[in-house]
């Protein structure tokens, strides 16, 4: 009960920050930009041609849901990693730097519990972000294309194009939103672990993003094909499994276990490092 109360106040504190609203607002702005690109520029012809080719029936399949998927996929690809690594990289390091942590540590709470609260709060924050982005993208899509119609999905990481009706598509769409939390677990956990070290908050964010970028680039280079299982970014596409015609549950479970394992390992490393630290002015 007291864990939940502490978690509640930690979440309250995180959502009370002006940065949260600015950050969420930026996501909406980028969604609007995506909407503009996909519907008011030459990109629209490309998308229309592609939908005609793979699904036929442009009016049916260039639906609000298809548009929402395109918007959310690009927005999250562009913004989620920087924003979440900033939030997770700040969560301990910034409080240490600002001196708030000393007041918290003078309370009868173990360091493990304090970190566990912050770590869980970080994941709930990520879930709220993805739910917000998902819902706003859908609203934008419905506003532009109306409700109903089909849903066509494809990504370079998917073996083939998949097509759903509105209800099935809606279920898949909402089902994939928690999947993003799992997908970004290594990012939030790695930034969190760095944040527990004697490090500037910005450094935790920058190192996380540098690692992610290096992982993303190296994984694409053919020379590293044999080492692909060591890279993180392919696993971060696990949310796409929810859009396969037949959901490959063994693969979903396997990558989910790997992502959770990586996240928990990073948490434990951060906790052990934090436990050893002397917190002084």
């Amino acid at each position: 009960m007291s864990f939940l109360r502490q978690l509640g106040w930690e979440l309250f504190r995180m959502f009370a920050r002006r940065r949260t609203y600015i950050g969420f607002g930026v996501f909406v702005l980028v969604e609007m930009l995506m909407l503009f690109l996909f519907t008011r520029t030459g990109v629209r012809q490309g998308i229309s041609r592609w939908i005609e080719e793979v699904a036929g029936g442009l009016d049916t399949y260039f639906s609000g849901l298809t548009l929402a998927f395109l918007i959310i996929a690009f927005t999250i690809f562009l913004l989620a990693a920087p924003f979440l690594s900033l939030v997770a990289g700040d969560i301990v390091a910034k409080e240490t730097e600002d001196g708030n942590l000393r007041l918290l540590l003078s309370r009868p709470v173990s360091r493990f519990r304090l970190l566990a609260i912050k770590y869980v709060a970080c994941q709930i924050y990520a879930l709220a972000l993805f739910a917000f982005v998902g819902i706003t993208a859908l609203l934008v899509g419905i506003y532009e294309r109306g409700a109903g119609g089909g849903f066509v999905v494809w990504s370079p990481e998917m073996p083939r194009v998949t097509i759903f009706d509105w209800n099935e598509g809606l279920a898949r769409y909402f089902g994939s939103l928690p999947g993003f939390v799992l997908a970004f677990l290594p990012v939030t956990s790695f930034a969190f672990a760095l944040s527990c070290l004697r490090i500037k908050p910005a450094a935790a964010t920058i190192v996380t993003l540098a690692w992610l970028l290096a992982d993303f680039i190296l994984e694409k280079i053919p020379f590293f094909e044999d080492y692909r299982h060591w890279f993180m970014t392919p696993r971060m596409n696990n949310w796409l499994y929810l859009y396969y015609q037949e959901i490959p549950w063994p693969a979903v479970t396997e990558t989910a276990a790997q992502l959770v394992g990586i996240g928990l390992t990073a948490f434990v490393i951060g906790w052990v490092a934090f436990e050893q630290r002397d917190i002084k002015t």
Partner: protein, 316 residues
Amino acid sequence: MLTVDHLHKRFTRSAPPALDGVSFEVRKGEIFGLLGHNGAGKSTAIGIMLGMVSPDAGDVTVGGVSVRRDRPGVLRQLGAIFESPRFYEYLSGWRNLKVLTAFSGGVPRREMEDIVAWVGLEKRIHHKVGTYSHGMRQRLALAQALLPRPKVLILDEPTDGLDPEGIAEFRQRVRDLRRDFGVTILLSSHLLAEVEQVCDRVAILQGGRKVYDGAGRGLGGDRALYRFAAGDTDALVAAAERFGGRIEDGCRLSLPKSADPAEVLAALVAEGARVREFARMEETLEDLYLKVSRSAESLRRTFSEPRGEGGKGGGR
């Protein structure tokens, strides 16, 4: 109530020890001053008391509970405020208290309101901390330290950055704390006047070592100081020694409090000393602080210089 037992701490191998065998005891209900210049080891000692710094050796116990074995058990009995207290600026004072007390298992609203009224923040408690003055932040820090009611309150440089009015107000508040809450207080400061006026006993740290532990007011313990001017110092020394006295700095006579100064003066005159002045001196905390600091420094020099040369020679 609070026992500091042979604390040792060295932050890096190459650096001198931050604490080198520091021990002292704070008795129940007293206001205890921890004095020392910057880097003397005060904050390290307090960090260890609060379990934020782990000692290399030694321990701190509060009410018989060891901070090394049961840190939460110790912190359940402690409240602490630090110099320049930092809160979440974007939350109100009230919300800050809620966030912090949640980590102590929560505090009833009524108790929070009472403490907020006691520190005099009731009119501004629902305003954002970002709008608070330094004095108001200090009062908020005091409120959070008192929630829930601690047995021991640790005040680390609490008046740092306050104006003279704020310092005087805080000093009075420290006295009121003991009166109203019966709390034991450890006050760390480098402001000697502040400590002298409120503390029952003090410990002075220098270079990570305790160089004094004793009375904070009416200092000198069982000895009294007299300022004198006399023509014949030899006669004075001889007379003083008969009463267990000793001469300090050539112009001060330290006598046991049991010695009657009238008798000493009569003996001086009988010895033929031409006494021109003889008056009682009240030793201030500043006198004591400077005296123990200088003697500790001179001891350090005495022992470190030959040892340094010896060490060099021994290495060959």
